[in-house]
Amino acid sequence: MPAVALRGLAKRFDEKIAVDGISLDVPVGSFFGLVGPNGAGKTTTLSMATGLLRPDFGTAHILGVDMWQDPLHAKKLLGTLPDGVRLFDRLSGEQLITYAGLLRGMDRVTVAERAKDLLAALDLTADAGNLVVDYSAGMTKKIALASALVHAPRVLVLDEPFEAVDPVSSANITDILKGFVASGGTVIISSHVMDLVQRLCDHVAIVAGGRLLAAGTVEQVRGGMSLEERFMSLVGGRHEGEGLSWLRHS
């Protein structure tokens, strides 16, 4: 049974077909990368998989539980880092993690312990009492990640988790996620950074224009090339020649 199984997911916004029938299996215990150009439909796909956006067509199962038939059960298994939504930023960082934990029905002592561990692991201890609204972009990303981890989910779905995060914190987050996968958890990340995906992930899917172009283990998908080259050749859109000649000074 796959950790996440998408079947024929599709979503249209007015005239724009954002996701055009994506079917995908994410095996349990995999570190899965979802890559694609801007506007490919990554965020839309992940939102439908995590119960934030109702699909027009198709189904999403989390460890065999239908997200849109039994959302409460499915969401218990999931930790979600959505992209492009605000946080309850008038809470302090510590309060926000606590809030996420308590909303999940955890008890006070466990939440407090884990909040402390997460803050330390993500280098946020010194700012734990400051309001999230005063955090930098990278700190905000990290506190959102912490809120997604606090209930020890079986599957993590992270939309651009490394955006704006400094290299030290990136390395720390990478260690956390690798440890999570090693212990049997499943991680799905979306990213634009091919190097990172190639280094981190064992499985990868390439989407563009709302369709799935390739999926499988990283080795299968890149087929001898670097992932970046493979991505370019699949997606296209590289401009050959002399674009923006006026920008050149000699």
Binding site: L52, L53, R54, Q95, T98, Y99, A100, R108, V133
Partner: protein
């Protein structure tokens, strides 16, 4: 150096004209207007020569104080009004502080308001053109007054920009805007009444002002004219002391602005302060309650509603005391209950896309709804209790206590019940997190009006049982009605609240993703 700064200011003024001919038109209109004011005032000052000392003093002190106060307040109201010589822009050049401050203060003279103030200040010598002592005193007074205008406005502007750089002060400022808005009515009516029998009051006001830094310089020549040299000396001391204090304050603001890069937020606060999260039970409902309760004290959009609680009774009290009808005060309890309950009717819209957390965690609709109701109660219950008891005490109507208690409890619960349904069903455009509570978001005015207006109407109808019983009790004086209200009011309210939470909770669970999609669309 000071001259360079002044030239810079003139040049900036001139460059503005080159950029847009409309600036010249603006200056011409401003200049003509200023010229008119100047001529008018000069004629007044010349006429004042014939008037007796007392009258001249009253008029000069009032007009002078108004001018100084205007200079001091306008930068605060229209913050950043003239930032062409913003100290932060000079931070990189290493100009000595003293030079920079002198230059900035004198730069205030460049431009129509500055020139006008300078000429008119010096022209206050005209009425006192009677003896050398009076002329000297008038000149000293004029210079002190002019210095006040320039320095107070610089100091106010410096602190204004300084504080505006910090989110906390900016937000407190936004919220406090509601104070003048609420008091416009009472202030206008009192002033109008005051003017009706007032010319004696004006001279009293003038002599009071003449002991403040704003009026002291302008009273100087009159003191000398009547031979009160001790008074004159004291006023010089007042004016100079105020200038010294303001210089010091301004200097402090400048140092802060130069040293701190803009947008420095407060120090680091470490973990361990969970606030309301330690107060409420560790359940999803308790968490939502703790979060919303925190927001009442941290989010300017909620703090605005919060501020109504102490202000409304004051406004009502002023009104009641003028009419001598303290029974009018009794409306404050039910009214505040109504307003505070109503204030959670756009709760999900206020959450904005942060609401995604509720959907991602799959929190039950019941927990979401009850949590918000309880969070609101943290504030609403004590506020309504205090205001109701206070209004009963002031109006000596303890006989209405049972009916009043029933009405307030009923209205509060009914209101929160309806709000629980509305906020789960409609996403209305509201100010975004961090925006001013008074900002009217563009678009969707129709929907907002419909939901808010119709919703309030529905709430009024739903509150009819309690309100009707209360009014009937007041009119007939039959206190049995009050006792009925005490039982029936909360009972009806509780049923409606329970129903509202049920319906709203079901809606949240069924249509949560659709609500979120709408919130994302509204941005």
């Amino acid at each position: 150096m000071v001259a360079t700064l002044l030239r810079l200011k003139l040049q900036i003024l001139g460059n503005g004209f080159r950029r847009s001919p409309w600036q010249i038109v603006g200056l011409a209109i401003g200049g003509l207007y200023g010229l008119g004011v100047l001529v008018f005032m000069l004629i007044g000052l010349i006429l004042l020569r014939g008037a007796d000392t007392e009258l001249a003093r009253t008029i000069l002190v009032l007009a002078g104080s108004a001018a100084v106060l205007g200079w001091a307040l306008i930068p605060i109201i229209a913050s950043g009004i003239d930032m062409t010589l913003d100290p932060q822009r000079f931070a990189a050049f290493g100009i000595p502080q003293r030079t920079l401050m002198t230059g900035m203060a004198l730069a205030g003279l460049v431009g129509i308001p500055g020139a006008l103030t300078a000429i008119l200040s010096l022209a206050t010598v005209i009425p006192w053109w009677r003896s050398p002592q009076e002329i000297a005193a008038a000149l000293i007074g004029a210079l002190l007054g002019l210095a006040g205008c320039l320095l107070y406005s610089r100091c106010a502007a410096a602190w204004g920009t300084n504080l505006a750089a910090s989110r906390r002060f900016r937000e407190i400022g936004m919220v406090l805007l509601i104070v003048p808005i609420m008091f416009i009515g009472p202030v206008v009516s009192t002033t109008v009444q005051g003017f009706r029998h007032a010319s004696g009051d004006l001279s009293a006001l003038a002599s009071a002002l003449s002991w403040t830094p704003f009026g002291a310089p302008w009273a100087l020549p009159a003191d000398v004219a009547v031979g009160d040299y001790a008074g004159a000396a004291l006023r010089v001391v007042i004016a100079l002391a105020a200038l010294a204090v303001v210089m010091w304050l301004w200097n402090m603001a400048m140092v802060r602005a130069m040293v701190n890069p803009p947008r420095v937020t407060g120090g680091k606060r470490s973990a361990g302060k969970l606030g309301f999260f330690n107060v409420f039970p560790a359940t999803p409902t308790g968490a939502v309650a703790a979060r919303t309760a925190s927001y009442w004290f941290r989010d300017p959009r909620y703090m605005g509603s919060l501020l109504v609680v102490p202000l409304l009774p004051v406004v009502l009290y002023l009104n009641a005391s003028r009419q001598g009808h303290y029974d009018l005060l009794l409306i404050v309890g039910p009214l505040v209950a109504f307003l505070l309950a109503w204030s959670i009717s756009s709760d999900v819209s206020y959450d904005n896309t942060a609401f995604a957390l509720h959907i991602a965690t799959g929190v039950s609709g019941k927990a979401d709804r009850w949590g918000r109701v309880i969070g609101c109660c943290v504030l609403a219950v004590p506020a309504v209790l205090v205001l109701t008891l206070g209004s009963l005490a002031i109006s000596h109507r303890w006989d209405l206590l049972p009916g009043m208690a029933g009405t307030c409890a009923g209205v509060l619960m009914t209101g929160m019940g309806l709000a629980s349904v509305l906020s789960a069903r409609y996403v209305t455009p509201v100010p975004k997190p961090g925006e001013s509570p008074f900002k009217k978001p563009p678009g969707g005015q129709g929907l907002t009006l419909a939901v808010q207006g119709l919703g309030m109407l529905v709430l009024l109808v739903l509150c009819l049982p309690q309100g009707g019983l209360m009014i009937a009790e007041v009119i007939t004086g039959n206190h049995v009605l009050g006792w009925i209200n005490l039982v029936a009011g909360p009972l009806i309210g509780a049923v409606l609240l329970w129903l509202g939470v049920r319906i709203g909770g079901r809606d949240i669970e069924r249509r949560g993703p659709e609500l979120l999609a709408q919130l994302i669309k509204n941005g």
